[in-house]
């Protein structure tokens, strides 16, 4: 085990944060909520969840919150996820696949641009997009 220099300590801190940030009550710039009702699970919500998780991990991001919730009510369009960029209205995405999840992550969460092709609507209970 090597003895640390100050720079190495700071690097270690940065690394350690990448896996422990989820415990904090800090500020998150975006929140991903994957709906995990029985319908969602049956349609493959777990894969979607893991796709988002790997995107965060791959990039070592520490300010994106990944959570789950129950059925969103639109069982025929599962798997679904709600993306909420801090300070903006939440966007619901439907009929997700792992590939779509990756695309949404890159374009919407990182790029700030809503992927309208996969979106059900903006805000809550609004479907006229």
């Amino acid at each position: 085990m090597p003895k640390l220099t100050i720079e190495e300590l700071e690097k270690l801190r940065e690394e350690a944060r990448k896996t422990t940030f989820i415990r904090g009550q800090g500020e998150f710039r975006a929140k991903i909520n994957v709906h995990m009702g029985t319908c969602g699970l049956a349609a493959g919500a777990r894969n979607i969840l893991n796709a988002f998780l790997r995107e965060i991990e791959k990039r070592g991001l520490t300010d994106i919150l990944l959570t789950t919730s129950g059925c969103a009510g639109l069982c025929s369009r599962e798997p679904m996820a709600t993306i909420e960029i801090a300070g903006q209205a939440p966007v619901k995405y439907v009929d997700l696949t792992e590939k779509k999840a990756q695309e949404i992550f890159e374009k919407h969460i990182l790029g700030g641009e809503i992927v309208t092709a996969y979106a059900l609507g903006i805000g809550s209970e609004k479907t006229d997009l």
Binding site: M1, I6, L9, L12, R13, M36, L41, L53, E57
Partner: protein, 608 residues
């Protein structure tokens, strides 16, 4: 750095593994969780983390789900499959395992919204529930050893001491001596061979107190980092953590932490490549209460009998092996890194004019929410007992709170709005002590309480000086006499005289403070002493020798139909009457054991 890269999980289950929850089988919960997570194929998504004491010990075993801060309590192994399926698989938090305040209709899911946690301010316990104490990386991720870097590279020793002085930090072990001043004295003291020592006092011996244990168990690196900064400030090269051997979990976690710190070069030679040397050794105490006194503690570290010696010279001048030594309590050390990191001014903005920062208390006794709390100085007893502590169980009346351990005093209900700081507690006849807080309700006899605490200090008196050795014994004899109904009014005068003599003439803090429970109960609850002496009655019915047990014949016959349970349980055959008849007690035979009172299901046995 870790050989295998740590994976990102979507959920961390923070399972409390403080001594309280461990004794409530927290490790079985952990195993059950891991098993169930695996069975559900969630092992790549969910990780179980064991943390130090969460504080809400009353509700253990505890677990907090992160992210989300969802608080689960009183878990059993059979709850786990349902919990894993509902919350982790389907994303539906389980209401029935959440905390529901007695006065509310719905449970409170989020930890920070529970009253017990709401009013707390975490400084010494800043990492509570958020780190695995056995993983240095967890501590480092939470800004651990950041203050050390600052102290080693950006500050001179004088500047470190100045920052501690600005913070107004005072010793958390009880006496409240300004920490910065102590450091300055040790820095200025001249050592014959240049060697100076640092000691962490973790000899926590107060009945019902577990602040230091919890900090050492939950966040050992905060203490180590504090000591490193202190060592840099005063110029010490060796440090000692003196911890009770009765705290096996604390000892274990401190030893692990020391090893990890050494591996990373945070202890030992040339720390972080800055040329600074310092190392820490653990010394296990054998459980003598007096060893919490600094000179006795030093004697114990040196391998001598744990007995105090007269001061001066103070340890700052002549301590371990005659060299300047800085002794601070566990909680004091744990505060140091935050002060250096965030600045003395920030710390001084919390608290009162003379007592800055926060204080950790262990809240025990007749209180709904038993546990460990950290509150800003200046908070009132009422806030601690009712808002955080959730009040007194069974709707009973609050009578008094004993602060400062066995040598603290009892503060009566009239003073419930007393703001807590060093000065106000001393004025009320008690003291801050290390932070034990024992709550008492109307069923507590204050004479008996004084007798209990004195019997503890009398037992723990080392016997070196006469006032403490003989004085506490004489006081205990008088108190015992009073609780047996054999006291006289002259006894009270003698008791008070003895108390003042022991307080003034004893050699060390043990004797100087041992009379506090007696003096404060005499001050605030004199009428209870009088009742014991003059009327031969114990108003709280605790002192059994003074109780008179009788059976209400009407209740016995009408409600209990002369059930005979009391007669069959009476060991001294003092109960007369056959089954189906009203029973009565032969007072000449009754030994006042109270068994009849305890076994009667109909409330027919009365006590006066």
């Amino acid at each position: 750095m870790g050989e295998t890269k740590e994976k990102l999980y979507r959920v961390h289950l923070m399972v409390c593994a403080g001594t309280g929850c461990v004794s409530n089988r927290a490790f079985e919960i952990k195993e059950a969780l891991e098993k169930e997570i695996k069975r559900r194929g969630l092992e790549n998504e969910v990780k179980v983390v064991t943390t130090g004491c969460n504080g809400f010990c009353e509700r253990g075993p505890l677990m907090v789900v992160q992210p989300g801060n969802i608080f689960y309590q009183m878990l059993t192994v059979k709850d786990i499959p349902y919990l894993v399926e509902e919350h982790l698989l389907k994303g539906r938090p389980v209401q029935k395992l959440m905390y529901q305040p007695p006065e509310e209709k719905k449970p409170v899911p989020v930890l920070s919204e529970i009253n017990f946690f709401k009013k707390q301010v975490l400084v010494a316990l800043r990492n509570r529930g958020l780190i695995d104490p056995e993983k240095i990386e967890d501590y480092i991720a939470r800004d651990g050893y950041k203050a050390l870097v600052k102290a080693l590279t950006q500050m001179t020793p004088e500047e470190i001491i100045r920052e501690i002085q600005i913070s107004g930090l005072r010793g958390r072990g009880g006496a409240g001596f300004p920490t910065g001043l102590k450091w300055q004295l040790v820095r200025q003291a001249i050592s014959p061979d240049g060697e100076k020592y640092l000691v962490c006092n973790g000899d926590e011996g107060d009945p019902g107190a577990f602040m230091d244990r919890s900090i050492l168990e939950a966040d050992p690196h905060s203490v180590i980092e504090g000591m490193l900064i202190g060592a840099r400030a005063i110029g010490a090269t060796k440090g000692f953590i003196y911890v009770r051997n009765e705290y096996p979990l604390a000892v274990k976690r401190v030893l692990i932490a020391l090893d990890q710190a050494r591996e990373y070069g945070l202890l030992g030679h040339d720390i972080l490549g800055t040329g600074f040397d310092f190392d820490i050794r653990v010394v296990r105490g054998a459980g003598a209460f007096v060893c919490g006194e600094e000179t006795a503690l030093l004697a114990s570290i040196e391998g001598r009998l744990g007995e105090p010696r007269p001061r001066p010279p103070y340890p700052a001048e002549k301590g371990l092996w005659g060299k300047p030594t800085c002794i601070n309590n566990v909680e004091t050390w744990a505060n140091v890194p935050v002060i250096i990191d965030r600045g003395g001014k920030w710390f001084a903005s919390i608290g009162t004019a003379t007592s800055k920062g926060t204080k950790v208390f262990s809240l025990v006794g007749k209180i709904n929410n038993t546990g460990l709390v950290e509150v800003p100085m200046g908070i009132t007893l009422r806030e601690i007992i009712y808002d955080i502590g959730g009040g007194i169980p069974g709707g009973k009346k609050f009578k008094a709170v004993q602060t400062g351990g066995p040598s603290g005093g009892c503060i009566p209900a009239e003073l419930i709005d007393l703001p807590i700081d060093y000065e106000s507690l001393t004025q009320a006849g008690s003291m801050m002590g290390s932070g034990g807080m024992v709550v008492m309700d109307e069923d507590t006899c204050m004479v008996d309480v004084a007798r209990y605490f004195l019997s503890f200090t009398q037992d723990e008196s080392c016997g070196k000086c006469t006032p403490c050795r003989e004085g506490t014994k004489a006081m205990l004899d008088i108190l015992t006499r009073i609780t047996e109904g054999k006291g006289t009014e002259e006894d009270l005068i003698l008791l008070e005289e003895l108390a003042h003599t022991v307080k003034e003439a004893s050699l060390c803090g043990l004797g100087k403070t041992a009379p506090n429970p007696v003096l404060t109960t005499l001050r605030y609850f004199r009428d209870e002493y009088i009742a014991h002496i003059r009327d031969k009655k114990c108003p709280a019915h605790v002192c059994r020798q003074l109780n008179v047990y009788t059976i209400d014949p009407q209740i016995c016959l009408e409600k209990g139909h002369g059930c005979d349970v009391c007669r069959r349980n009476c060991a001294s055959e003092a109960i007369l009457g056959a089954k189906g008849e009203a029973h009565r007690i032969d007072q000449s035979k009754c030994i006042k054991c109270g068994v009849c009172y305890d076994v009667c299901n109909f409330g027919a046995v009365k006590v006066e």
